[in-house]
């Protein structure tokens, strides 16, 4: 790879611009795509590779092209700068998620508790408006406080976020769904919310719960089959 090409690739990535590094095999001639100067079929293949986020070798007009997709990082918004969030940011960062922690309570959302993470101390509804979750974004609410969690979940449901998770027991979750339905969300829409959040691995400690949450995010992202969440336990009369 030439220094110019590497610099151009690094520049596009820093600008969070989706880009394909295309390499002709076996010779190794390289270019960045899409490029107005490249053949239409080659550009089209590059766009498909970015869309699916799956790199691979494609034969176009008898030439093997290795198309390496460089999409901007996946994003994770964590609402609630709580103990579990401290553990979750470590997992999410190492899995490559650009992570933002939202909590208007400054004693929770401090740099000391969250070094090297983007922190927003706006109210969750404002923070979510600014953040604009898309199909490469996961949203997790951890505050247990409806004043903070509900507005975030409301905005998340109106977005294309690929994962929405909310901490809370089955009973808490049932009450939460009732409040969200009062805001006009249908049952079908609310079924996007994974609650109680995380895979059921009988997690106890904050890092264990964080591990169950990041595992569930990965499972949803990769299309792994997941069991449905069980219904809230009803108290016998």
């Amino acid at each position: 790879m030439t220094p110019d090409l590497l610099a151009a690739l690094e520049k596009a990535r820093a600008a969070k611009q989706p880009i394909v590094l295309a390499t002709q095999l076996p010779g190794g001639e390289q270019c960045l795509l899409p490029d107005p100067g490249a053949p239409a079929a080659v550009n089209e293949a590059a766009r498909a590779v970015l869309e699916s986020d799956v790199s691979g070798t494609h034969k176009i007009d008898g030439v093997d092209w290795f198309m390496h997709a460089y999409n901007p990082p996946l994003r994770l918004v964590i609402v609630g700068a709580v103990h579990i969030a401290q553990a979750l940011v470590q997992f999410s960062t190492s899995c490559g998620y650009a992570t933002t922690v939202v909590d208007p309570r400054r004693s929770f959302a401090s740099d000391e508790r969250f070094p090297n993470v983007t922190i927003s101390t706006e109210w969750p509804d404002e923070a979510m408006e600014a953040f604009k979750p898309d199909s490469r974004t996961a949203v997790v609410t951890l505050t247990h406080d409806p004043k903070l969690d509900d507005p975030a979940l409301d905005r998340a449901l109106k977005s294309g976020a690929f994962y929405i998770g909310a901490l809370g027991s089955r009973r808490t979750h049932a009450a939460r769904l009732k409040r969200l339905s009062d805001l006009g969300h249908t049952e079908e829409a609310m079924s996007r919310i994974r609650g109680p959040v995380g895979l059921n691995i009988e997690a106890v400690t904050a890092p264990e719960i964080a591990a169950s949450i990041i595992s569930e995010i990965i499972a949803v992202r990769r299309g792994a089959p997941l069991p449905p969440k069980s219904a809230p336990k009803t108290t016998p009369p």
């Binding site: 790879m1 390499t23 095999l25 010779g27 190794g28 799956v54 691979g56 290795f66 990082p73």
Partner: protein, 107 residues
């Protein structure tokens, strides 16, 4: 984003900027049960630094060896590892998969 272990390119670019001779190996095609998908990368320096992976650990040694050749010659290589390939048995691609790995120099 450069602080996570999958971002081998940024690590390699950093090494290059620091004056190292750097080769990058990239998985370009896989068949069967290969553990790392196309696009997985490993960076190797002349001085022996290594980052990333192109398999579950079975072929990294052989790829690093090939990378040294590419660093010397400047010529890229397309390596083929698989159950039908003697060399692959030698280096032990025990998972039964097949991978192609493109090795290039950061000039």
């Amino acid at each position: 984003m450069s602080d996570h272990v999958e971002d081998v390119l940024s690590t390699a670019a950093g090494w290059r900027a620091a004056g190292e001779q750097v080769a990058i190996a990239t998985v370009t095609e896989t068949w069967g049960s290969s553990p790392r998908p196309a696009g997985s990368q490993m960076a190797v320096t002349k001085s022996g630094r290594m980052a990333g992976s192109v398999s579950g650990g079975c072929i990294e040694g052989a790829v690093a060896e090939a990378a040294m050749k590419t660093l010397d010659s400047g010529i890229p290589q397309l390596l083929d590892f698989g159950v039908t390939h003697e060399r692959a048995w030698e280096v032990g691609l025990a998972c039964g998969g097949k991978v192609k790995v493109f090795v290039e120099k950061l000039s």
